[in-house]
């Protein structure tokens, strides 16, 4: 009995400790930070005023949260970030689904090769890959020339691809596509092919076989893939920083600026906490929805 307890402690202890030190504690620090005043030169103002000068702002305040709602621009950036995350997720889903089906229905050795190709981009640095898109979308790139030649033929004024919402979306989709492909593939690969035979035998055409059998059975994969794309996109700042224009900042850029630019830690913390709450509620809703949609199923 005693050994069992010790064993359990040894197994679950280290990860638990890790979570407490690197997740729970920082979260608590963030909550506390968000309720304090910013320091004069960055950082935080002390909680108790130094004895010699009692003027200034000390102690706890909900100012940071009030400030968020004082200007609609912050809510707008929040909504825009959600829209970008939603759009990225949708595009990733549309692009990844056929690919995942193709991989899942290929022969075994071909399958492993294709999965390897999907995860191969991870071998090179994330920032380098984003900078590569800067070159691909840049004004002197072949792609830009081609697009503008085509547009010119229709009498439309030339466009700049780089530093636009379009470039941000491309970058986001590019970076997160594997996170959609892999869970979808893992799910689709487990499907019993005899179910499709049965559906066809019982009168279902190709579309009906997809819509009535493959799609509903793949929903758990769709939900986990969507969560793996949606959540990181929501907090991403590097892609809009590099590929976006001045008007394309998202919630992630805003938070980064509070800590590294404006040096308003309480406001940055407040934004982080609100983002975390938003992500948690989205994740909760998705889980709830996924459970009710796939609830009583064997998969």
């Amino acid at each position: 009995m005693k050994e069992k307890r010790l064993a359990r402690l040894l197994v679950s202890g280290p990860p638990l400790l890790f979570l407490i030190v690197f997740f729970v504690a920082p979260s608590l620090i963030m909550i506390l930070t968000s309720l304090r005043f910013p320091g004069e030169f960055g950082g935080l103002a002390p909680i108790t005023p130094p004895s010699d000068q009692a003027v200034g702002e000390y102690g706890f305040t909900p100012d940071a949260y009030q400030f968020f709602f004082s200007d609609f621009i912050y809510t707008e950036i929040f909504l825009k970030s959600f829209a970008v995350a939603f759009g990225t997720t949708l595009i990733c889903l549309i692009l990844a689904y056929p690919l995942a089906v193709l991989i899942a229905r290929s022969r075994k050795h071909l399958r492993n090769l294709m999965v390897l190709l999907v995860i191969l981009p991870f071998a090179s640095n994330f920032l380098i890959r984003i900078y590569a898109w800067m070159i691909i979308l840049g004004p002197e790139s072949a792609l830009s020339h081609f697009v503008n030649t085509v547009l010119g033929a229709f009498g439309i004024a030339p466009v700049t691809l780089l530093f636009s919402p379009f470039a941000v979306l491309i970058g986001m989709v590019y970076v997160h596509l594997p996170f959609m492909v892999l869970p979808l593939y893992t799910n689709l690969e487990k499907h019993d092919p005899s179910l499709l035979d049965a559906a066809q035998d019982l009168g279902a055409n190709a579309w009906q076989r997809f819509w009535r059998v493959t799609w509903p059975l793949s929903l758990p994969g769709v939900f986990s893939g969507s969560a793996l794309v949606f959540i990181p996109v929501l907090g991403m700042f590097a892609v809009p920083d590099i590929l976006g224009g001045t008007g394309d900042i998202l919630i992630g850029n805003l938070i980064k600026d509070q800590f590294l630019g404006t040096r308003d830690w309480p406001f940055g913390s407040a934004l982080s906490i609100m983002l975390t709450l938003a992500v948690l509620s989205v994740a909760g809703l998705t889980t709830w929805f996924a459970r009710s949609a796939t609830g009583q199923r064997a998969l």
Binding site: L195, D197, A198, D201, L202, G203, P216, L217, R297, A298
Partner: protein, 363 residues
């Protein structure tokens, strides 16, 4: 005209011929079984009837119409798969309703038909359950209901009882016979279990290495196998090398080396000098104490080599004087009696002159 006509169908996979020039006619309302060991081509033939595979040559005609170019979803043929292939994300009712929905039937009719079928397979209150909440036998019934609900011209059953335990399988066999009788849909049943084929079918096609060896009623298949393969595959049978020494219209006289002369039933096309085997079923062989003089013409001395006690009967394996082995079945009819003979007991083996059958040598 037969409902299903399979004409000279051949299917090759590379150099391997899975189905070799097979012709079968199945009549409407029939319970027809394709029986054979694994790899005999029965499943390939079934897949071609369903439309999942196409013959390399030959024709498959349903209601006089060539099925070539008609995809599985357009054929009035449904299949009950070996693994059932129930849709795990649909309730039992939705599973059964599937073919009706695909056929674009009206919701009221779908509901009516689904309830009718649930009733028929004895699962009236299971409509809202999911497949994973069912036992093996219940899943099996749902699969039958789903295959039958849209009244196909032909229901194909691919070893559907293979996954069930022995007792349940027997129950399902009886249900299946009744279901087929009540609904009147033509069944084509694929199995490698000869007892199942004998119990269920109106007619059986015994297949071996892509060929049909014999098509007949179960009793004919059992009592008058056309060749060595059929005799050996269906039930138990003992074989002894034999040569024909007299071929009359009423009987054959065979010489068995080291044993003597045996009388066997006449067979067409057999001539004096033919060499082959005498095949005889264990239940046709009598085993008795040597002191009891046998009234039968065919009787020989032997020694019990081994026996197999299975409860209701005991199978004795007897070594004859020429070294051949013959099996004899003895019902354990006397109460409390498990066996009548012991290993190494001297016995007399005998059989009626019209038992046994002379067959050509196996190729």
């Amino acid at each position: 005209m037969a409902l299903l006509e399979i004409r000279n169908v051949t299917r090759r996979f590379g150099s391997y011929t899975a189905v070799d020039n097979v012709s079968i006619d199945v009549e409407a309302g029939e319970f027809f079984t394709l029986l054979g060991p694994s790899g005999c081509g029965k499943t390939t033939l079934l897949r071609m009837i369903a439309g999942f595979d196409l013959p390399d040559s030959g024709q498959i005609m349903l209601d006089g119409k060539d099925m070539v170019g008609i995809p599985p979803e357009k054929r009035p043929v449904h299949t009950v798969f070996q693994t059932y292939a129930l849709f795990p994300h649909m309730t039992v009712a939705d599973n059964i309703a599937f073919p009706l929905r695909m056929a674009g039937k009206a919701p009221q009719e779908i509901k009516k038909r689904v309830n009718e079928l649930l009733e028929r397979v004895h699962l009236p209150n299971f409509g809202n359950r999911f497949p994973h909440e069912l036992s093996g036998g219940q899943k099996q019934r749902v699969a039958f209901a789903r295959g039958l609900v849209n009244r196909p011209r032909l229901l194909l059953l691919d070893e559907p009882l293979g996954a069930l335990d022995a007792k349940l399988r027997e129950e399902m066999q009886i249900e299946l016979i009744n279901l087929q009788k009540e609904i009147g849909i033509t069944f084509i049943f694929v199995t490698h279990a000869q007892d199942e084929a004998l119990a269920l079918s109106h007619r059986i096609a015994v297949m071996n290495r892509g060929n049909v060896e014999q098509i007949d009623e179960p009793s004919k298949i059992y009592s008058a196998p056309r060749n060595h393969f059929v005799a050996d595959f269906i039930g138990k049978i003992s074989v002894m090398n034999a040569a024909v020494i007299e071929a009359a219209s009423s009987h054959l006289k065979l010489a068995i080396e080291g044993l003597g002369e045996v009388t066997a039933p006449a067979r067409e096309g057999v001539e004096v000098g033919d060499k082959g085997v005498l095949a005889i079923r264990p239940e046709q062989v009598r085993i008795s104490h040597p002191s009891n003089a046998s009234q039968l013409k065919n009787h020989f001395r032997g020694k019990v080599h081994d026996f197999l006690y299975v409860g209701d009967v005991t199978t004795y394996i007897v070594e004859l004087v020429n070294g051949a082995y013959i099996e004899a079945l003895l019902p354990n009819s006397a109460p409390g009696r498990a066996k009548f003979f012991e290993v190494d007991d001297e016995v007399t083996i005998s059989w009626r002159h019209d038992a046994g059958i002379f067959l050509d040598n196996p190729q």
